[in-house]
């Protein structure tokens, strides 16, 4: 804690440990649990918070009111993700090659699975993993109010973007490389209309101005 009422946090693209953000899951209604966790973890080193979880919490719970955010480490990633999303947009609008084979193959693999109008649960699962972090099929089932078998099937179908953690194969997490995140965010922007990158970019600009 640096001064009264403010805690230092560092934004990162990945998830530090499986299940580490359990009390920060999107389905938590309470504000105090989040505040408690941030305060408890602030023992000199800034707490690392996933950037997309932070984007959600900033908007939903005004988390930025008591946090001093360091977003230096994700600035370059955010820029790359935005550029890759722009390349995907050009691919869709004009059929132009994004000049990134991995990005193209990831997008072409997941597009038939998650972009269909009927792929509602697949899109919701991606959104839930993006904001809530590592999740078990049971948690996805509870969050989305769907059948557990269906949750497992969906997680397997999304394997291009979702992987099982090494620590526990029952826990699934979104890949956090810029190609996968660009594809995930592009699909979510188109299908669900959500754009956490906009929140993050406004936040990182703000923190730079403050400095």
């Amino acid at each position: 804690m640096t001064d009264a009422g403010h805690y230092d946090v560092s934004l990162v693209m990945g998830w530090s440990a499986p299940g580490s953000g359990k009390e920060l899951r999107r389905n938590t209604a309470g504000f105090s649990a989040i505040k408690e966790r941030v305060a408890k973890s602030n023992d000199g080193n800034p707490l690392e918070i996933n950037a997309f979880l932070y984007a959600f919490l900033v908007s939903a719970k005004n988390l930025d009111l008591f946090l001093r955010v360091n977003s230096e480490s994700i600035k370059e990633d955010l820029k790359q993700i935005r550029e890759k999303m722009a390349a995907l947009e050009c691919l869709e609008r004009e059929g132009s090659n994004p000049n990134n084979d991995l990005l193209l193959s990831t997008y072409k693999s997941i597009r038939p699975v998650a972009a269909r109008p009927s792929a509602r649960d697949e899109q919701r699962t991606l959104a839930m993993l993006l904001f809530s972090g590592p999740s078990t099929a049971e948690q996805i089932k509870e969050d989305l109010d769907i059948d557990k078998n269906l949750a497992e099937r969906i997680l397997r179908a999304l394997s291009v973007l979702v992987v099982q953690t090494e620590e526990d194969p029952n826990i699934f997490v979104l890949r956090s490389d810029t190609n996968s995140l660009a594809v995930t965010l592009y699909l979510l922007q188109y299908t669900l209309g959500i754009d956490p990158l906009r929140v993050l970019q406004s936040q990182t600009t703000f923190s730079t101005t403050e400095e």
Binding site: N27, A29, S59, E89, R93, G95, R120, Q189, I194
Partner: protein, 299 residues
């Protein structure tokens, strides 16, 4: 008018005018078709199907450009070309002939219902592309029909309703009707949801209900967390109404968003035995008391 006079009117400037207009329209149609085919080919090469996954505001840019090009062509054909030709040819008879033929075509075309509908519709398209009262992809209510705008054509505006019906509304008629757009070009739109509690719920239960609604909205993946949300309360004679105002990130998911929130709220009321407003509360108090005294059986 004698036949020789008419022949005299069909002079070079008139021929140039008609030829220019027809050529312009043909070139425009060919160019649009060429661009479309080229795009399909390029997307096919990239391994993409016909469904274009771009934000609808990006699609609108293309349509806006098309509408502007069409309005320019119309303006050139009706105003610039006749005046230009009339000035170019100093021969008074030729100039008069060109203007006369242009006006004759204009009046003949305008006199028919089809032409009227076309011209009214084309003018509305130009108006819509500039002032944007609503756009392709918007959720609108026009002439009593609500749905998503699929197309703004010169003859019809096509709406896709929630029941998946395709409604065609004459474009020209939209000059005389209120235009209601839920999202006005934005992807997000406001949802207003009401929750009806029994009039005698305790303050604690009411607070719990409010918290449950906050939570239900925030849990839904369709919620636009960038925009503010509000919940306010209203005391009516027979019920307490909680009204939530929150934005859905994509207006097309409004029904799903509301469904998420209502389902979560009903689950909460069920688990916590929170009484909802019911027709029963509208009955005289004495009758309810008597029913309760009777162990739930009406006397």
């Amino acid at each position: 008018m004698d036949l020789p006079d008419l022949k005299q009117l069909l002079s070079l400037p008139v021929g140039l005018y008609i030829g220019g207009v027809v050529l312009g329209l043909v070139v425009l149609a060919w160019w649009r078709s060429f661009q479309h085919q080229r795009l399909l080919k390029r997307r096919g090469k990239a391994g993409l199907d016909d469904q274009m996954l771009v934000d609808h505001s990006l699609k609108l840019e293309t349509l806006r450009r098309q509408a502007i090009v069409e309005s320019v062509v119309l303006f050139v054909a009706v105003v610039v070309l006749p005046i230009g030709l009339a000035n170019w040819y100093t021969n008074e008879a030729d100039a008069l002939g060109a203007t006369f033929i242009a006006l004759l075509i204009w009046i003949l075309v305008s006199a028919t219902d089809v032409a009227k509908a076309f011209l009214g519709g084309a003018a509305f398209r130009v108006f819509a592309s500039i002032r944007r009262p609503f756009q392709i992809g918007d959720r609108v209510t026009l002439s009593g029909y609500s749905g998503k705008v699929e197309e703004i054509g010169p003859f019809f505006v096509r709406l896709n309703t929630l029941d998946d019906d395709l409604v065609s509304i004459p474009t020209a008629s939209l000059w005389n009707t209120p235009l209601v757009s839920a999202n006005a070009g934005s992807k997000a739109s406001l949802c207003v949801m009401t929750f009806h509690l029994a009039p005698f719920v305790t303050a604690k239960a009411r607070k719990a209900a409010e918290d449950a609604i906050w939570s239900a909205i925030q849990r839904s993946v369709y919620w636009d967390f960038e925009k503010p949300m509000q919940i306010y309360l209203q005391q009516n004679k027979d019920e307490i109404v909680l009204t939530a105002r929150a934005y859905v990130a994509s207006t097309y998911n409004e029904a799903l968003f509301k469904s998420d929130v209502y389902r979560a709220f009903l689950d909460f009321t069920d688990q916590n035995a929170l009484p909802l407003a019911s027709m029963e509360w509208r009955r005289p108090v004495e009758e309810i008391v008597a029913k309760r005294a009777n162990g739930g059986h009406s006397s």
